[in-house]
Symmetry: C2
Subunit: 335 residues, 2 copies
């Protein structure tokens, strides 16, 4: 079945999302439905000139802008590309949504269309590069005010995701805090520690900020406020470090010659810390599959997100999340 791509939501759409979709259709043979203003998308496809790919267009007359409030979107933009994309999944015409648009609106639209798994707070999971394998950080922005049992839910969902997408049989789950001991942290985190420790997850205790990039855990649990700040801080720091290094090198002729020689190492390194490699951030806890991409995504990021969406749909991730939560309902309901 098809993956539906909101082709009008991102900062450089429809160009970026259409290019990403074309690449996914061409390289991975994934069937794709592009949603957006029909004439615009037809013209873009014509311009890019690819033919005979499994791509179709489904019309939507409205576009949600980046700064629009999710509530306004739901009220006034019932024919927006993001809304229509989710409706197609609800109608069984597609199996997952990929969008580089307004992430708050995407989340809100997913909730009113697909709906959430019973009693669950859906959360956004991000894959972050580490010295070893990528780590799943959850939540990176869906829930800014969480109760301790929400953090337990995030740990359960991210464990399923890590197992299904990355093949970690028993994902090591860490709780982001300010010291290793369970007694360290704020009130929310200290209570979440006890819940995680009492669960059947492979909980390895608190992880400090310094440990995240060592790659010794597979899942890092935190609330959406902290997670969003960490994600963006990391992006900003990685960028700043490359800028500083570049400016030191450019100020120096010998170093510039040296840089020419090290360029391929640099490029491999950039690739390693490039978020585009990971495509996007899946929204876990809804009754379906949705991947939220960065508004400034590259075509490669959209392509990779489509690949991940296809993979998650194939393993029926939403069903597995629901059964994983349902198995632990006793634990969650007691809270």
């Amino acid at each position: 079945m098809a993956i539906v791509v909101d082709a009008m939501g991102g900062d450089h759409d429809p160009d970026v999302s259409v290019r990403g979709a074309l690449a996914a259709a061409r390289d991975q043979g994934i069937e794709i439905i592009l949603v957006g203003i029909e004439d615009v998308l037809k013209a873009k496809l014509r311009q890019l000139g690819e033919k005979d790919l499994p791509i179709s267009i489904y019309p939507a007359s409205q576009v949600v802008k980046m700064k629009e409030s999710p509530a306004d979107t739901l009220r006034h933009k019932k024919d927006s590309s993001i809304r229509v994309a989710f409706e197609l999944v609800c109608q069984g015409k597609a199996e997952a949504v990929v969008s580089a648009g307004n992430s708050g609106a995407t989340l809100a639209t997913a909730l009113v269309t697909l709906g959430r798994i019973k009693d669950v707070r859906p959360a956004i999971a991000a894959l972050m590069p580490t010295l070893k394998n990528p780590v799943v950080m959850i939540d990176v922005g869906a829930n800014v005010d969480c109760r301790p049992h929400h953090l337990l839910q995030f740990g359960i969902m991210a464990s399923v995701f890590s197992r299904e997408l990355l093949g970690n049989a028993e994902p090591k789950v860490g709780l982001l805090s300010i010291g290793e001991e369970g007694s360290k942290g704020n009130q929310q985190v200290k209570r979440a520690y006890d819940l995680l420790a009492g669960s059947d997850l492979n909980f390895v205790g608190n992880v400090e900020g310094r440990e995240v990039f060592k790659g010794n855990v597979d899942v890092v649990v935190c609330d959406g406020f902290v997670g969003n700040i960490c994600l963006k801080l990391s992006e900003g720091l990685a960028e700043a470090i490359l800028t500083m290094l570049k400016s030191e090198i450019e100020g120096n002729l010998v170093a510039t010659m040296g840089y020419t020689l090290t360029r391929s190492a640099f490029q491999k390194f950039r690739k390693k810390i490039d978020y585009a490699e990971y495509g996007g951030a899946p929204l876990l806890g809804i009754k379906g599959i949705a991947i939220i991409c960065h508004g400034l995504s590259s075509p490669k990021a959209v392509k990779n997100a489509i690949g991940v969406a296809h993979e998650l749909a194939k393993v029926r991730l939403a069903d597995k999340l629901a059964s994983s939560i349902s198995k632990r309902r006793d634990l969650l309901e007691a809270l």
Copy 2:
């Protein structure tokens, strides 16, 4: 007057703190009192062989270990090097404390000896490198559960600190959050936004994680849980990036040759992101000056921390913080 150095608290003490103290005394002519077990410190000074420096030893029979709880420390270690260090300031024999020891114990000891400025929650301020000037992030660990008006206090104190130490006449204060608009953030931050916006600080609004390292603000305000995670995440990521880059370079002969040429650029760059350059993190809101250094500090970091402590004592920072808070008492008491 002298700076008192807890010479036994850090992971590699007394070696590191004594070397740092010697360097500060030698290069900056700062008078120093080393506190710790007398025989140990005498032997260390003898080993390092520096003479005729303005350094004295003041005995303390106990040492606080890194993992000890602050409460236990206060109860059972009344003759610890950190406790005796603060007592010397209380007695007017020294003007500031520098310690690379257990930061929780240092904070607790500062509170019971020097005490806090009336109605203030003392907070730890850290200087972080950016693409422009260093930014003061506050709080990075003293208060894990904050109310909105505590964040206003942090903004007031860090503004004074930024003005006095870094010479920013009207420091730009940003509130760490997950979006630029005041409506973005968790409950705590949304209320703090209103308080900061209604104050006479040079409040420029929310800053996102991605903006921190661009250096467009002078002060970033957050609670101690978020700040500690950000600080350690940044340290961990900078280290991970250097490790990744090095491993790419080492796997490649041509790149290794290139690296030799770029080495001096690398070294300048490392220096720029090296926390040792900034010495340590001042504790703001106590009735006196205390600088908390990383447990794994280098002698250079301790030396720089001593220099900062000396500077802050000279400008009478604690008095300025008290009067800055007191001027705004109406605002703070109304909360």
